[in-house]
Amino acid sequence: MSQKLLDVENLTMKFGGLVAIDNLSFSADKDKITSIIGPNGAGKTTVFNCLTGFYKATAGSMFLNKENERLNLRKFSDFKVAQKAGVARTFQNIRLFPQMSVLENLMVAQHNKLMDASGFTILGLFNSPSFIKEEKEAVEISKYWLDIIGLTHRADDDAGDLPYGDQRKLEIVRAMCINPHLLCLDEPAAGLNAKESAELNKLLLFIKNEKKTGILLIEHDMSVVMEISDHVVVLNYGKKIFQGSAKETKNSPEVIEAYLGTEE
């Protein structure tokens, strides 16, 4: 068996007396899609916030295994998780830069690379050739992703003017522009119609198969979860109640109980 990309061990997050995540352990594979599902308030987004450094976990460990190093994500604070460890995320309510153009959104995602190339702005001020070259490459990368989601013709429009479904897709490829090892998607299918959901599935499978990026997915839309997940983790009240393949999950009595309640 290949080494897991992400190992979460005994993760606990408490807000005062409230235990949002209780001793949670799971793992995610490199070129697999791992879904985290559960009823509202089960602690799914909190897991993401701990992983991506927005919250400081109370206890436990989260290891990201790259080719030759093992990083403890708990050691990184907010922006460093994306910058140093290469964990990208999207948000439940879309967080684009609405008044900046689509292309600019993707360029901001490549900020750290460009910042180095611009010699902390000083070389950039004098149009150094190395910076111009790096910027051109960044535009090419942006264009590559825009071609994939079919938004190249709107590259210079404000991101806030895009239709909802396109904004979702743009947010995902913007996260991909930081060249992440692990992509965390928080309800990417929320508010999408059937056709847009299908396109989303295609995009996620492309990222998984072609880019070999591990995907961690929070989702309520079961059609998305069942169709593309390789592995499902079910949370309820901050505890893991089940894990297995999509098919096993569908038939698991514990999961049905958590969602629908017990028969009595």
Partner: protein, 423 residues
């Protein structure tokens, strides 16, 4: 429907008149005059009546033509749209014309000492507006204490020039660096603050600097101010009517008559160049990764963090660079006035600069110029009306906000476009 609308707007305007009466009745209507050691009340009901009628009728008209959504040909949509179309499409031409005009301005036939002074003052405000535009317009950090950096620049220039006798061109960068350091100093404690909270802290910071200048008597001479700040020289050639023995001055070197206007014209070009440098720098840095990160930070800080953008460094650079230009403008101010005191750096200065940036359209460079010319020009035009000029100032702001709620020039051009970069 039509009739009902008319009814509600009449009701609304009568109510407005009532409020105006309640406000202006006591403020304007009752005037106390000291006569024979007794205070007498001199009522001025006629003026109150005029004000109330103006308020009520004005409200009625705006109801009919501005806020009336059914009426598509309302003033706002027609005039507002044509102005905005003109400004949005012709931004580049406006900028070019303004630059050419400002270069030939000192030599136009009607230009006199008074106009030159106003032009220099406007350019100082334009430069400050451009500097603050980096902080407010691009990075979205509402800084109400910008005048502090102006003061730091002015005082550091003055102190270095007086005590060490260094020339303007050495003191200028030093003053800029000092101001930038104070920018970082302000930046650190406010890193986590946003919006209203940030505004309050920056406001306090501006006051702190002023009070510090007022009380640190040994260094700043407190309320007496610093006098005898050296005037700038034209690359080593001073502007003097009676040169010392063997000293070369501007007019002897060029073999022309001495004229006090020579120095004014030199100061004018100095601030013009400084302001244009600020502008070019801002235009350039907006297109660099740091500039894009500033704007992204203004749009959504959490999204920035999720993309690995360091919010601390990004904010601090915005504060530091904005402050640096404030410092440059401050040292120009000091050398022009030859005298500075804390009086010159009160909160109202910050407020005017913020007003210029906001009214110009956040982040718009040309907008800053238009707003400055409009606001400062208006204050000057109304100079003879004394206290009424602040009413004109306020009225102008209200008008801009009615017709251009997002500022005079509100459109934003992307910093990079696919068409251009792929061709």
């Amino acid at each position: 429907m039509e009739k009902k609308f008319l009814q509600t707007s009449i009701k609304d305007s009568l109510f407005t008149g009532l409020i105006a009466l309640a406000l202006f009745g006591p403020i304007v209507g009752l005037r106390t005059v000291a006569k024979n050691e007794v205070l007498e009340v001199h009522p001025k009901w006629f003026i109150v009546l005029i004000i109330v009628v103006v308020c009520a009728v004005g409200r009625f008209l705006t109801n009919l033509y501005v806020y009336n959504r059914d009426q598509k040909t309302g003033i706002q949509s027609s005039i507002g749209k044509s102005i905005s179309n003109f400004l949005d499409t012709k931004g580049y031409q406006i900028a070019l014309t303004a630059i050419i005009f400002s270069v030939i301005f000192p030599f136009l036939p009607f230009t006199d000492r008074y106009l030159m002074d106003i032009a220099i003052m406007m350019l100082t405000y334009i430069m400050l507006g451009w500097g603050l535009n980096i902080v407010i317009g691009l990075a979205g950090l509402l800084d109400l204490g910008y005048v502090a950096f102006y003061a730091v620049g002015a005082y550091s220039y003055a102190l270095f020039a007086i005590h060490f006798g260094w020339s303007f061109w050495i003191c200028l960068p030093i003053a800029g660096i000092f101001a930038a350091m104070f920018g970082v100093l302000l930046g650190f404690p406010v890193l986590r603050l946003r919006g209203d909270y940030l505004a309050i802290v920056t406001l306090a910071f501006g006051e702190m600097i002023r009070i510090l200048l007022l009380n640190w008597y040994q260094l700043t001479k407190g309320p007496d101010g610093l006098t005898g700040i050296p005037r700038p020289s034209f690359f080593g050639l001073p502007f003097k009517s009676f040169p010392d023995e063997g000293e070369q001055t501007f007019h002897t070197f060029f073999g022309i008559e001495y004229d006090p206007m020579q120095r004014i014209i030199f100061l004018y070009y100095l601030i013009l160049v400084l302001a244009l440098i600020t502008n070019l720098f801002t235009i350039k840095i907006r297109r660099l990764p740091i500039g894009r990160a500033w704007e992204a930070l203004r749009e959504d800080e959490i999204a920035c963090k999720s993309l690995g953008v360091n919010p601390r460094n990004t904010k601090l650079t915005a504060f530091a660079i904005g402050a640096m230009f404030g410092g440059f403008a401050g040292s120009f101010f000091a050398t022009r006035q030859a005298f500075i005191s804390p009086e010159s750096f009160t909160f109202i200065e910050s407020a005017i600069i913020v007003a210029i940036v906001v009214l110009g359209g956040m982040g718009s460079q040309t907008g800053v110029v238009l707003a400055t010319v409009f606001l400062i020009g208006l204050i000057e035009v109304f100079r003879d009306f004394e206290s009424y000029r602040m009413i004109a100032f306020g009225g102008a702001m209200v008008l801009i906000m009615i017709f251009r709620p997002r500022g005079i020039l509100a459109t934003r051009k992307p910093t990079i476009t696919l068409e251009k970069s792929s061709s």
